[in-house]
């Protein structure tokens, strides 16, 4: 059974129209991450939550926001998507234990901006 679930798998949005991507987990992990991955590139960390504490990466554009209403769910909001925001968005979770932070990934949401 999938433990990190991202919906939808594919999302098409219009240029400038707000869009929300969803992630849920059944692992009860306290850390949730959002990564952006463009074609032929490594996943780039946008931000992460440690419980309710939000940690933004310095180079994440203001256009990207996140919400974590409870342990199980985390959302990525793109306020005004541009063509350059078309990418795969990956959600991951972890429970740092004993110096190890193994992250479990969802299957991703591929965002197309038209």
């Amino acid at each position: 059974d999938a433990m990190v679930i991202q919906n939808p798998r594919y999302q098409v949005t219009q240029f400038g129209k707000p869009v929300t991507l969803s992630c849920s987990q059944t692992l009860n992990h306290n850390v949730m991450y959002w990564y952006q991955q463009k074609s032929s590139q490594a996943p780039k960390l946008l931000f992460h939550y440690y419980d309710k504490d939000f940690n933004n990466e310095a180079d994440t554009p203001d256009n990207f926001q996140s919400r974590r209403p409870n342990t199980s769910f985390c959302f990525l909001d793109i306020r005004s998507p541009g063509l350059g925001d078309a990418a795969m968005y990956l959600c991951a979770t972890s429970r740092p234990t004993g110096g190890k932070t193994e992250a479990f990934f969802g299957q991703g949401t591929r965002l197309t901006v038209v």
């Binding site: 990564y35 590139q41 490594a42 972890s94 110096g99 969802g106 991703g108």
Partner: protein
Amino acid sequence: GESVGLHLPTLSVQEGDNSIINCAYSNSASDYFIWYKQESGKGPQFIIDIRSNMDKRQGQRVTVLLNKTVKHLSLQIAATQPGDSAVYFCAENIGGSEKLVFGKGMKLTVNP
């Protein structure tokens, strides 16, 4: 052979050969490292990990080597199979934080 250009570096091997995938990491404070395998259209999958107090760790058909002096990781895959064809990323966890940062990645193609 290996090529580097505008796209991901690529390593092509014959089925049954051993493969070595390399990664340079950036932060000397990183103390935990993971190799992930990513197949087309899917999320990264855990392969093997290593802590900074080790220099070698073996799994099933895979071995990770860590050289902290030069900040270098490698993943060795024995008897490579077509199902090993994927993109491989190393990721580093910076000590004292829960951040996990990915390296550049390499595409492995296994020819039958």
